[in-house]
Symmetry: C2
Subunit: 214 residues, 2 copies
């Protein structure tokens, strides 16, 4: 059985998005330079079928996090470019015809919809009966490979609260968001115990991996 991994970038003050998320600003206001480092990476370009970009520890980590994946899970905000209110059925996500997933992707939403087959191996499945169902379906198709929860913050917190996560991969960005969507918000007594299992210094950001201690 593969692992269940959350994979997100986080500002130094604990936010994964700013305020007022919308399709033309999926990370919202206050996030102006939050993503600069990722757009430069060779592995990021490769996800979209492009050449070129920076190499180094950050590029290595970003490529590794996409390896060994059998399925992925997204919240409706992540699929909807931060809005969670994507117009259906015309909305195909905000990544274009060839999204950077290249696996089955289970989108947790309240809106039933037929599966959406994209280019490059990505198929979006829309799951309306909750996070546990989405994870069960993802594990079924992933088999011995890992399931990656790609965000946003709300669904990541729901999976943490439910105790369904094995590893947490965070890219700590030298950016103070100030306001917006915080990770680990309102977990209360369900806040996980963590053990640092990897720490990689990139040129601009730091990549931290934690094991959730049961």
């Amino acid at each position: 059985m593969g692992k269940v991994r959350i994979h997100m970038m986080m500002s130094l003050d604990g936010y994964v998005a700013g305020t007022n998320q919308r399709v033309d600003a999926p990370f919202g206001d206050g996030a102006e330079h939050f993503l600069d480092w990722v757009f430069k990476q060779r592995s990021f370009n490769a996800l979209f079928g492009k050449e070129g970009g920076e190499t180094g520890p950050t590029d290595d980590v970003m490529r590794e996090t996409m390896e060994g994946l059998g399925a992925q899970i997204l919240g409706r905000h992540m699929f909807g470019g931060g809005t969670g209110e994507w117009p259906e059925p015309a909305w195909d996500g905000w990544w274009g015809p060839n999204p950077p997933y290249h696996t089955p992707v289970f989108v947790v939403t309240h809106h039933p919809r037929q599966p959406l087959v994209m280019e490059g191996g990505t198929t979006f499945y829309f799951v309306t009966d909750g996070i546990e169902s989405a994870l069960r379906q993802a594990k079924d198709v992933a088999g011995d490979l890992d399931v990656r929860i790609g965000g946003g913050g709300q669904i990541a917190d729901e999976y943490l609260r439910a105790g369904l996560v094995d590893e947490l991969e965070l890219h700590i960005v030298p950016w103070i968001m100030g306001d917006g969507v915080r990770l680990f918000a309102g977990l209360g007594d369900a806040r996980p115990r963590l053990e640092q299992i990897r720490s990689v210094a990139g040129a601009e950001v730091t990549h931290l991996t934690y094991r959730i201690v049961r």
Copy 2:
């Protein structure tokens, strides 16, 4: 002229202390294992004149952050063991007769008090006319050496808001505090721009140093 450095440990969710800070629990509730890593270090023992402890990257970083210091600044909560309401003049801080500072320490407070000379080179000066006065006095005695702002979170944020900090040294602890005192809270338009200048992987925590970009 030396640098002005903030030096603090921070939970992965952005807190520097929990709730309900008090003298017998200066980091408050929710911080049970927040400090475990630091108590083990050889450099921590050495600050209290003791032998033994772990060595390695974390110990190296902790020792380096105490080098090259000419003066230090604390908020009243830090001096008061988290309470900010220390009984005067009997209260001599919560570190015992030989505090782990070994330089002049300027405590920003509303309560005037004569300087308090401790063992091991630590003298506490009580500054009642604000953070800029405390920094001016600290720089005067530090000369070419650095001034270290040792916390707590409130005074660190006040110095950040005033644009008076050169570097930020944070120890990222694999701990979810959930509630309490957050760093970078309420900075609004004064939130600093940061550049990662060092990232050191310790066995249990990660040590990040940022330059404040002017």
